[in-house]
């Protein structure tokens, strides 16, 4: 059972997507686990042949427990645990493996939480539905249309336990992580106001030339500028564990997503500094969709090296963040608003954003934090280079 963040102690296995004899490779989704953050798809870091599913469906097990065994192809009694911890395992096999067997399409179904509940009530497997909602998501209308159709030739699936998330459980997870942060982390705070005139003018011109689905939101520019700034100030990208700062293995940005009905989850966008804006935008849209529908993957939780929260266009002016342990920094962007600003000695109306940093004083000082905010400001003045 992988640890999907600092606040997770246990998870309930709700679905196996593999069976003994199946071939799996690194990155395959092997199981669905219900956590306080909703249903999470667990990926394996091993490759080989599944020899045993140790944990039966419906069982709640602590983080670190063995849940299945995977052996190298040909092995009879392998002893290699699956994803006990979310660490890459060296791959000794040089020969390519055949593709993993197709697994049920369920993992790929986009479905709204309400539609998922309705499907569960009606005993309909969402994997059998085609969606007509946003991004092809299955909506309530799709579920009810399917329910009105004559019985399909296949037997009805068992009611699905994979629901979005439980708001009360989510609140407990937030309380655990934020309580720990406030107890353990001596925060310092900095903020800076940044002129987004150049960035938004560039964005408008870019979007004018793009079809509707390919357009960018200002948030993606803020994300990329922050990721690049963290390259220059790596002291703020990483974790504080066992009394020392450990630099992150890459710039893996936890992107805070607020959930309807309350709650917050911050899945990671891996290597955000190396991805073009259009790809980051597509990843953000996909993450938001899956965070809300309950389809996040284990590799996206617990792997972030820093978190960004962006309050969006109707948000408050400034956010004073709480660091998500064991990370050492949280960068927050308030809402963008047009306000007076001095440009070349004259007062002009400009679109401004306040960026804030909550830093862990055990790992860095305010001077380093200031370097990061300065770098973000500078990068946002040259949006064409992002």
């Amino acid at each position: 059972m992988p640890a999907l963040g600092a606040d997770m102690e246990a998870g309930t296995l709700v679905e196996w997507l593999i069976k003994p004899g199946d071939k799996v490779k690194r990155g395959d989704v092997v199981a669905v686990v219900e956590t306080q953050k909703g249903a999470i798809e667990v990926e394996t870091f091993n490759e080989g042949i599944v020899s045993e599913l140790v944990v039966p469906i419906g069982t709640k097990v602590p983080v670190g427990s063995l849940i299945a065994r995977i052996g190298a192809p040909g092995e009879i009694a392998p002893e290699r645990p699956v994803a006990a911890v979310p660490q890459p395992v060296p791959q000794p096999r040089p020969t390519p493996l055949p593709a993993a067997p197709p697994r049920p399409g369920r993992a790929d179904v986009r479905i709204t939480p309400a539609a998922r509940r309705r499907a569960s009530e009606l005993g309909i497997d969402p994997a059998t539905l085609s969606g007509t909602g946003v991004d092809g998501a299955v909506s309530i209308a799709d579920v009810e249309a399917a329910a009105r159709r004559p019985a399909a030739p296949t037997a009805p699936a068992a009611p699905l336990r994979r629901i979005g998330f439980n708001a009360a459980e989510m609140r407990k997870a937030i309380a655990t992580a934020m309580g720990r942060s406030k107890r353990e982390i001596p925060h310092y705070y900095l903020s800076q106001t940044i002129d987004l005139g150049a960035a938004l003018a560039w964005l408008t011109a870019f979007n004018d030339a793009q079809p509707v689905p390919n357009r960018l939101l200002p948030a993606v520019i803020l994300l990329k500028a922050t990721a690049l700034a963290l390259r220059e100030v790596p002291q703020l990208n990483g974790t504080y564990v066992d009394g020392e700062f450990r630099p992150g293995p890459g710039i893996h940005i936890g992107w805070a997503i607020s959930l309807r009905g309350g709650g917050l989850v911050a899945p990671a966008i891996l290597d955000a500094d190396m991805r073009p804006l259009t790809e980051l935008m597509a990843m953000m849209r996909d993450l938001v969709q899956r965070a809300r529908a309950g389809g996040l993957r284990s590799s996206e939780l617990g792997s972030a090296t820093v978190t960004i929260t962006s309050l969006g266009d109707r948000g408050a002016e400034t956010v004073f963040g709480i660091i998500y342990p064991p990370q050492v920094a949280l960068i927050g962007f308030g809402g963008i608003a047009v306000r007076p600003w001095v440009v070349d000695g004259r007062v002009e109306p400009r679109p401004l954003v306040t960026v804030s940093l909550a830093g862990d004083h055990r790992a860095s000082d305010g001077h380093v934090g200031g370097l990061l905010l300065n770098a973000i400001e500078r990068l946002l003045q040259e949006p064409e280079k992002l």
Partner: protein, 78 residues
């Protein structure tokens, strides 16, 4: 597109984005983002879905016209 069809399509799309929204009491001149608590990403998904269902190319400069139910219906009727 007729106003009735446009309204029904808009409500269907918004229902997928904000499943808990109360569409029976939604009035035509309210800001959808406020009433349905749509963030920037939600509103973008709304525009993308309108585009995909109608084929209408909606320039970004026109987004503010689509912030109310009445505004969106009028926009689709053009």
């Amino acid at each position: 597109m007729s106003d009735v069809n446009a309204r029904s399509m808009i409500v269907d799309i918004l229902g997928g984005i904000a499943p808990e929204g109360d569409f029976a009491t939604l009035s035509g001149d309210e800001d959808l983002r406020e009433v349905l608590n749509l963030d920037s990403m939600d509103f973008m998904n709304f525009i993308v879905a309108l585009h995909e269902r109608t084929g209408i190319d909606i320039p970004e400069a026109d987004y503010p016209k689509l912030r109310t139910l009445d505004g969106a219906i009028a926009y689709l009727a053009r």
